[in-house]
Symmetry: C2
C-alpha cells in the first residue's frame, strides 16, 4: 500500500504517539510495540540515513526489545509503504532514508556517511528522456566525496 505524499508530510513532522499509530495504520500495518518504537526512532528527528544494523543498535540502547530480523522486516515494510527510501551506495550495506521526496546525496567515502545534498546546490540536470516504452521510475544521484589530504 502506498501512502500519498501529503499524508506523510503531516505525520512525520514530529512524533507524538497518535501520529505514528495512525501512520502505521494508514500504511496497512498493525501498530505493534516494536513498529511504533522503531518508527519513532526513525521519523522522530528529521532526515536520517540508517542501516538496519544502526537502527537495531539505537533500539537496543533505547532499551527497546526488538530482534534484528524484525528491524529488517519493519524497514522493508515501511519502504514498501513509501515511508522510507532505500539508498544503495556500495553494495554491501543498504541505507534507508527517512526523506522520501526527490533529492540527492553526498557519500562521504572516509566515514561511510550519507548526507542529503541541499536542493539549492543542485540546479538539476535536464534529465535524459526515457527510451520508448519506458518511464522513469526514479533518479539516483550520488556524489562521492573524499576528504582532502
Amino acid at each position: 500500500m502506498i501512502l500519498s505524499p501529503p499524508a506523510r508530510e503531516v505525520m512525520s513532522t514530529d512524533c507524538p504517539w497518535r501520529d505514528v499509530n495512525e501512520m502505521l495504520r494508514l500504511a496497512g500495518l498493525r501498530p505493534t510495540r516494536q513498529r511504533v518504537a522503531l518508527s519513532r526512532l526513525l521519523l522522530g528527528k528529521g532526515a536520517r540515513h540508517l542501516t538496519a544494523e544502526m537502527l537495531f543498535e539505537e533500539a537496543t540502547q533505547a532499551r527497546i526489545p526488538v530482534s534484528l530480523a524484525t528491524v529488517y522486516n519493519t524497514l522493508n515494510q515501511l519502504t514498501e509503504a513509501g515511508l522510507l527510501r532505500r539508498v544503495c551506495v556500495d553494495g554491501n550495506k543498504t541505507y534507508f532514508d527517512t526523506r522520501v521526496s526527490a533529492h540527492h546525496h553526498f557519500y562521504l567515502e572516509n566515514s561511510y556517511e550519507l548526507v542529503d545534498i541541499p536542493d539549492l546546490d543542485l540546479k538539476l540536470e535536464e534529465h535524459p528522456r526515457a527510451p520508448d516504452g519506458y518511464e522513469i521510475a526514479r533518479i539516483d544521484l550520488i556524489v562521492r566525496l573524499r576528504k582532502i589530504r
Copy 2:
C-alpha cells in the same frame, strides 16, 4: 597500481593477444591464462556491464577453465587497476562496467539490465560543489526505468 587513461584507451580498442598481455603487465598483473582469457571476454567487444556470475557463465560457455573465485579476484584486480568500474545498483549484485570514463546509466528494473546513457542525452548538471575539506571522487547517476504497461 593505477593506469593512466591514455594507456587504457589504446589497449581496449580491440583485443589482439599482445595488447591484453601488455595491458595486464602495465597493470602490474601477471598475464596468466585465466586473466588473459577473462580480459578478452571483458574488453573484446565494446562497453559491457557484467556481474561476476555473468562473466563466469560466459567463461564456462567458452570452455575457459576458471573458478568463480578467480573471476571475483580478477574483476577486483582490474577494478583496482582502473580498467573496470564498479557500479552499484540495488545492493545485492555488483556490476562491473568496462567503460571507465565519466558517464551515467539507465537501469532497467524489469530486466535488471544496466545500459549506458548516451552522453548526448545528458546535458550534464552543474554539479554541486563539494563542501569545504572535501573533493569529488566520482559522481554516479542512475536513472531507473520501468517498462510502460
